[in-house]
Amino acid sequence: MGRFLARRTGESLFTIWGVVTTVFFITRVLGDPATLFVPVGATDAQIAALNHSFGLDLPLWRQYLHYLAHVVRGDFGRSFVFGRPAIDVVMERLPATALLAATAMALGCVLGCTSGAIAAMRKGSLGELVIMTVALLGQATPVFWLGLMLILWFAVDLHWLPAGGYGRPANLVLPAVTLAVFVAAAIARLTRSSILDILREDHVRTARAKGLYPATVFFWHIARNALVPVTTMVGLLGGELLGGSVVTETVFGWPGMGRLTVQAIESLDFPVIQAAVFVAATLVVLINLAVDLLYQALDPRIRAQ
C-alpha cells in the first residue's frame, strides 16, 4: 500500500510536471500580452516597460527555470490582467466550477446508474428502449446547444428558472442539468453494459443457485461488481467535466475556472492560463488517484497487487 502510494505519487508529480512544462511553452508562443494591455497609442518604450514588468524580456530558458522554481512553491506569478497572484485568481473561481461539476456528477451518477441498471435488468422491455434512446440522444447532444435550448425553454418561454447567474440554488439548476445529461447518458450506457457482462459471469449463477433473494443478488453480486467499471468512468468523466465546463460556463455566465481560462487565453494572461491548467491537471490527477484508491476498496484483487 505504502509502495503503491509512493509510486503513484511519483507518477503524479511527473505528470503534473509534464503538464506544467507543456503549458509554459505553449503560452510563450501565444502572442505578446503587453501590446494587448496598453491602450491604443502607447509607445514602444511603454510596451517594453510592461514586458519587463511581466518578466517576458528574459531568455526563454531563464523564464522557464524561474517559472519552475516558483511553481514548486505554488507561485504562478501575478496575473497580467488581475494584478494579483494568478493562483489566487484561479482558486477564487474553483468553488464555482467544483460546485457545478460535483452537482452535475452527483445528478448524472444517480440518474445514470439507476436508469442503466433498470435498462440492464429489464433487457428487451419498452423501458430499456426508452432509457437507451434517451441516453443515446443525451450523448449525441452538444452541451452548448443543449444549454441554449434549455435556456430558451425554461428561462425565456416558461420563466421557471434564471437564464444565468450564480449564487442561489435556482441558478445552479440549468447548468448542472446541462452537464448532468452528458454524464448520465455515459454512465447509463456503461452501467447497462457492465451489468449485462456481470450477469453472464459464473458467480452470479452461483449466487442464484444459493437461492438468494433477487434483491440480494442484484445489490451484492451484480451492482457491487458493476461499481468497478463505473468508477473508472466516473473518474474519466470527472476530468472531462472540469475541463469541459468551459462551454457551459460561457453559455450560463457561470463564474468558474473554465470561463476564466478562455478569457485568460484571449487576453494572453499567461500566469492565469498556467495556474488554471495546473489546478485542473492536479484535480484530474487527484481524481485518478482517488479512483485508484476506491478501486482497491472495491476490488480486493487489485488490493493484493
Binding site: 443457485a209 457491487r224 480486493p300 484483487r301
Partner: protein
C-alpha cells in the same frame, strides 16, 4: 417403494439462437433415488449441464426455452414453481458446485460473506450463528484454520481450497441433493483426488444424494453408483457402474472407454471418427450413428428409445438399435483398429 428424489420426465430444452434453434436437451427422462450418486458423463454440448441448470431456473430464458417435460423434485414439479418458490429450494434443498471455483465465487466479497449469506437466507440464523456454522462447514470440507478464512477473498485461496469453499456453500443447508457440475475439471490431479475423497466421505457421513457431472470416466468410476452417458442431449446408456464399464452396450460408451490410454496400454487408441454433431441440425436418428461403425440403417433413421438391456443387471439401460456385443464380435477389425 422409496420415492425418488428426482424424477425427470421428457425434458426438452432448446436455445433460440440467430442461426436457428439449438436442441440442447432432447426428451430426457431419468430418476434418482435417495442416497444415490449419479455420474453423468458427456462431452461439451451433450446437455449434461444444461438440463440441471434449466430445471433450477439458472439459465436465462430467453435464449433458453423449455419445450416440454416435468422435473419432480420430492414430488414437486420444479418447472411449475414460481421463481420465488424455486429460490427457497435452491441452496437449501438442492446445493450446487460449479466447475471453475475462481469465476464461480464473487471475487469482491469475502469467503465468510458468501457462506453466511446462504446460511442466513435459508436457515434464518443471525450473523454470529451463521459465522459459527460457516466455520463448521469450512472445517467439514477440510479447510485448515477455517475461522481465519472467513475474512479472506477468493483470490487468496488456492484452486483446491476455493473448490472446497464451493462445496461448503453447496452443503451449507444440508441439501437433499447436491449437484456438482464439472467440479474437479479445473483442478490438478492430486487436488482432484482429494476433492473426490472429500465428496465420498461426505456422502457416507451425510447420506446426500449426488449428481456428479463430468467428462472424465475415471472420476465417475471412482465416485458414482450409477453412470449415465449422455450425447447430443440424450441418454445413450445408463446403469450401475460396473456393468457399464465392463460391458458397455452403447457404441458411444464403448468408443469412449476404448479411446482412453489407461485402458489401452501398448495398443493403438480407438479413434472415434468425425466430430460431435451440430445441435442446430442434429442427425435424424441415433445422434451417434454418423460416428458409429456399427450403426445399422435404422440408427440413421429413428431415434432409439432407452431400454433395459436384456442380458444385464436390472437398471442397465441403453438406447441402441444394434446389439453391441454381437456387432463387435462380427467386426473384430474395428475393435482392434
Amino acid at each position: 417403494m422409496v420415492e425418488p428424489v428426482l424424477d425427470i420426465r421428457n425434458l426438452t430444452v432448446v436455445f433460440d439462437t440467430p442461426a436457428g434453434t439449438l436442441h440442447a436437451v432432447n426428451d430426457l427422462s431419468y430418476t434418482l433415488m435417495p442416497g444415490e450418486t449419479l455420474g453423468i458423463v458427456g462431452e461439451s454440448g451433450s446437455g449434461k449441464s444444461v438440463h440441471v441448470l434449466t430445471m433450477l431456473g439458472l439459465l436465462p430464458c430467453p435464449p433458453a426455452r423449455i419445450v416440454s417435460g416435468e422435473v419432480l423434485f420430492r414430488g414437486r414439479d420444479l418447472l411449475a414453481l414460481s421463481e420465488r418458490e424455486l429460490c427457497d429450494i435452491r441452496g437449501a434443498e438442492i446445493g450446487m458446485v460449479f466447475q471453475d471455483p475462481m469465476s464461480s465465487l464473487n471475487p469482491v466479497l469475502t469467503i465468510g460473506r458468501q457462506l453466511r449469506e446462504v446460511i442466513q437466507r435459508h436457515a434464518g440464523l443471525d450473523h454470529a450463528q451463521a459465522s459459527a456454522r460457516a466455520v463448521e462447514l469450512l472445517g467439514l470440507v477440510g479447510i485448515p484454520d477455517p475461522a481465519a478464512r472467513l475474512a479472506q477473498y477468493p483470490h487468496q485461496l488456492s484452486g483446491g481450497m476455493r473448490q472446497r469453499v464451493m462445496i461448503a456453500i453447496g452443503l451449507a443447508c444440508d441439501p437433499t441433493l447436491l449437484i456438482a457440475d464439472e467440479a474437479t475439471t479445473a483442478l490438478d490431479v492430486t487436488v482432484q483426488a482429494q476433492v473426490i475423497d472429500l465428496i465420498r466421505d461426505l456422502k457416507n457421513r451425510l447420506g446426500t444424494t449426488i449428481i456428479w457431472i463430468t467428462h472424465d470416466m475415471g472420476v465417475v468410476a471412482e465416485l458414482a453408483d450409477t453412470i449415465q452417458v449422455m450425447y447430443a442431449g440424450r441418454i445413450m446408456e445408463r446403469g450401475p457402474i460396473a456393468p457399464v464399464f465392463h460391458q458397455p452396450r452403447s457404441a458411444y460408451s464403448w468408443s469412449l472407454l476404448r479411446s482412453l490410454p489407461s485402458m489401452a496400454r501398448h495398443r493403438r487408441l480407438y479413434q472415434i471418427p468425425g466430430s460431435p454433431p451440430n445441435m442446430i441440425h442434429p442427425p435424424p436418428g441415433d445422434p451417434f450413428a454418423p460416428r458409429n461403425p456399427f450403426a445399422t440403417p435404422r440408427c440413421h433413421r429413428d431415434v432409439p428409445p432407452l431400454r433395459q438391456v436384456a442380458d444385464s443387471v436390472p437398471g442397465h439401460q441403453v438406447a441402441a438399435w444394434y446389439d453391441l456385443p454381437a456387432a463387435v464380435a462380427a467386426h473384430p477389425e474395428i475393435a482392434d483398429a
